[in-house]
């Protein structure tokens, strides 16, 4: 700004010096006029000149005084303007600081669980310089905080209601799961009912995953908790059981590690969402290959599909979605046709410190790699050894006497090694009947289904218990009068007699009267 102040070097001149020049001029003019006029007028002119000089001096003095006063006023005004401008500038800076520093800090305080009033009262705790905030700014701050608080409360309650509904669905699904498992055990012997139960079970699992997704997006925890460590293979199959097309998933070499009980559910859910994406965006006849290998930071689960390739743009979009989900997705952001999968995965990853990356696969599809951190794994043994199934139930030798310590034998199959083409059963085709055309009549060994035969057995046993006559209980028909058989040892005697060359006619006649034994007749008896 232009300074209107007088230069500081210029000194204030005293009135006498300022008024000297007009006084001299007036005196000179008066003197000259008095000298020029005739004698009688001289006195009058002199008087008039004196009065005029006085008037001029008075006027001049007044003018000078006013001029000085004006200058002072102007200087004062300039100072005031400068002060005001400084003030405006500082105000702007303060507002900027208010907007960029104080309000965010206060909102952060608010988010960390303080009420707006508390934040305003303890504003000095954030930074001591905030204590001197003017009242107006405090008022603005309070209003802003209150509005934010109200909005947050609204959104929170909306999310909480989502989560609570999801929780209820989860509870029902969980109970349904348990009961379906019981039913499957109860009706395990009836294949038709069992298959239908499996279908219902599958549908329930899908509902459960949807409820889990809503719960995770709403900021809740995934539904179930597992008390014991679970092998990774079981975890991956748990993920498979929650997607529609689980048949297309192929588990190839899975690392034999156990997942800590508390981390099982997030891994299952993340894997299920990734598998669902993989099966959904690949042709229905292709397989999705899942492998799991141990890496430095944990276990890398790779899910590779043979679907459409990932363009750079699509990849950026997907990664962006993951990033946004990690930052905390709003339920409103999901849009009309919600693609929950990646949002859920991103949320789970940020909550549980997992990492996920999407790359294009060598097969042309997408390869999703989920890295489960080492904190989620455990060295503790899982309850079931063979991937959660079986081995725990093998007959135990605990408590029994210890046998001799032998080196373990190499397992060999109990059946001798024979080519698969040779039947192991006794179905050597024995031709016992002949058709009318002279061809051998074959009978298959089991013509009647097993269940029918079992029923027959039960009926026969029942009849026996009730004392009904059966084929065995009816007395055998009276035996025909026995033909006289030679005593067991007699043939030796006859033999020796023959050798002696002493023919005994009685012995010979006895033998010849006996009918010849025909071997083939034996079989006919069994018919």
């Amino acid at each position: 700004m232009v300074s209107v102040q007088s230069p500081p070097g210029r000194r204030e001149l005293p009135y006498a010096r300022v008024l000297l020049l007009p006084a001299i001029l007036m005196a000179a003019a008066t003197g000259a006029a008095a000298a020029a006029v005739s004698e009688p007028a001289r006195t009058a002119v002199g008087w008039c000149g004196g009065v005029a000089m006085l008037l001029v001096l008075a006027t001049a003095a007044e003018a000078v005084r006013r001029g000085r006063a004006l200058r002072d006023l102007r200087a004062e005004h300039a100072r005031h303007t400068a002060y005001l401008e400084r003030r405006v500038a500082s105000h702007e800076a303060e507002m900027l600081r208010f907007a960029k520093e104080i309000v965010p800090n206060a909102i952060y305080r608010l988010r960390s669980g303080n009420s707006p009033g508390e934040v305003i009262r303890r504003i000095g705790d954030i930074d001591p310089s905030y204590r001197e905030l003017p009242e107006s700014q405090l008022k603005v701050l309070q209003t802003v905080l209150e509005i934010i608080d109200r909005e947050e409360a609204l959104r929170d309650s909306a999310q909480r209601s989502f989560v609570s509904i999801a929780r209820r669905v989860q509870a029902i699904v969980h109970q349904q799961n348990n009961e379906l498992r019981e039913m499957e055990e109860d009706h395990g012997r009836n294949p038709e009912v069992f298959d239908d139960l499996l279908r219902i079970d599958h549908g329930t699992a899908l509902i459960g995953r949807l409820a889990d997704s809503i719960s995770v997006l709403g900021g809740g925890r995934p539904g179930r908790q597992w008390p014991d460590p679970v092998p990774l293979y079981s975890v991956l199959r748990g993920g498979m059981s929650r997607i529609l097309e689980y048949r297309r998933i192929k588990l190839d070499s899975i690392a034999q590690v156990n997942i800590r009980g508390i981390s099982v559910e997030p891994v299952i859910h993340a894997v299920a969402e990734l598998m669902d994406n993989a099966t959904r965006y690949s042709p229905p006849q292709t397989k999705v290959h899942v492998t799991a290998t141990e890496v430095q930071t944990g276990v890398a689960v790779e899910i590779e599909d043979a679907g459409v390739s990932f363009s750079e743009e699509a990849r950026n979009k997907a990664e962006g979605m993951l990033e946004r989900a990690k930052a905390g997705v709003d339920l409103q952001d999901l849009g009309d046709a919600p693609r929950l999968g990646l949002a859920v995965v991103g949320r789970l990853c940020s909550q549980f410190n997992m990492q996920v990356s999407l790359r294009s696969s060598a097969y042309g599809g997408v390869r999703a790699v989920l890295i489960v951190p080492r904190e989620m794994m455990t060295e503790e043994p899982a309850p079931g050894l063979a991937h959660g199934i079986g081995a725990g139930a093998v007959p135990k030798t605990e408590g029994a006497l210890e046998g001799p310590k032998r080196a373990p034998k190499r397992r060999r199959p109990t059946s001798p090694r024979i080519p698969a083409t040779v039947s192991m059963t006794d179905e050597v085709p024995e031709v016992t009947e002949w058709t009318a055309g002279g061809l051998p009549q074959r009978r298959s060994r089991v013509k009647i289904p097993l269940s029918q035969r079992l029923a027959e057995q039960a009926a026969a046993e029942k009849a026996e218990r009730e004392g009904k006559p059966s084929i065995w209980s009816t007395p055998a028909p009276a035996p025909e009068p026995e033909q006289k058989e030679p005593e067991p040892g007699l043939w030796v005697e006859a033999f020796w007699n023959g050798l002696k060359g002493d023919p005994d006619p009685a012995a010979l006649t006895q033998q010849t009267t006996e009918p010849a034994r025909i071997e083939a007749d034996d079989e006919r008896d069994h018919k």
């Binding site: 348990n178 009961e179 179930r224 498979m240 059981s241 057995q457």
Partner: protein, 138 residues
């Protein structure tokens, strides 16, 4: 909010004391069960072989690398002949799941099944024949 609890149709012996109710939050429950559901274990459903609870199963080969853990466990268990009922009990899997798995293994010729011999009022003719021929061969 949860529907009424179902009563077991065939309660097991040890479940006589009242089972603790699962918490309504769906937490706890019995986490002893593995997270996979039975349809994943059973694999593709389809035709089942005519297997009975007392059909004896014998392993015929070592488990291939592609076998699922259940199939591996079965092959290990059936080194000596074992009935389907016992397999089902040891593996803690329902009978129908075991039969599906066994059918798959039978077609792959990993195991062999032997039907039980049923007591009949009239003995099976082919059985008698087999006995007779066996005796004759002695």
């Amino acid at each position: 909010m949860t529907p009424p609890q179902r009563r077991r149709r065939y309660p097991s012996q040890e479940a006589v004391e009242p089972v603790p109710k699962p918490t309504p939050e769906g937490e706890g429950g019995d986490g002893k069960r593995p997270p996979e559901r039975l349809y994943v274990v059973a694999g593709p459903d389809g035709e089942r072989a005519d297997l009975d609870l007392v059909t004896l199963i014998v392993a015929r080969a070592d488990p291939p690398p592609s076998a699922t853990p259940e199939q591996t466990a079965m092959l290990r268990l059936t080194t000596a002949p074992l009935s389907v009922a016992e397999l089902s009990a040891y593996l803690n899997l329902p009978f129908s799941v075991v039969t599906v798995l066994l059918t798959e293994m039978l077609t792959a010729e990993l195991v062999q099944a032997r039907a039980p011999i049923v007591r009949q009022a009239l003995p099976d003719r082919s059985l008698l024949e087999a006995v007779m021929h066996g005796l004759q061969r002695l």
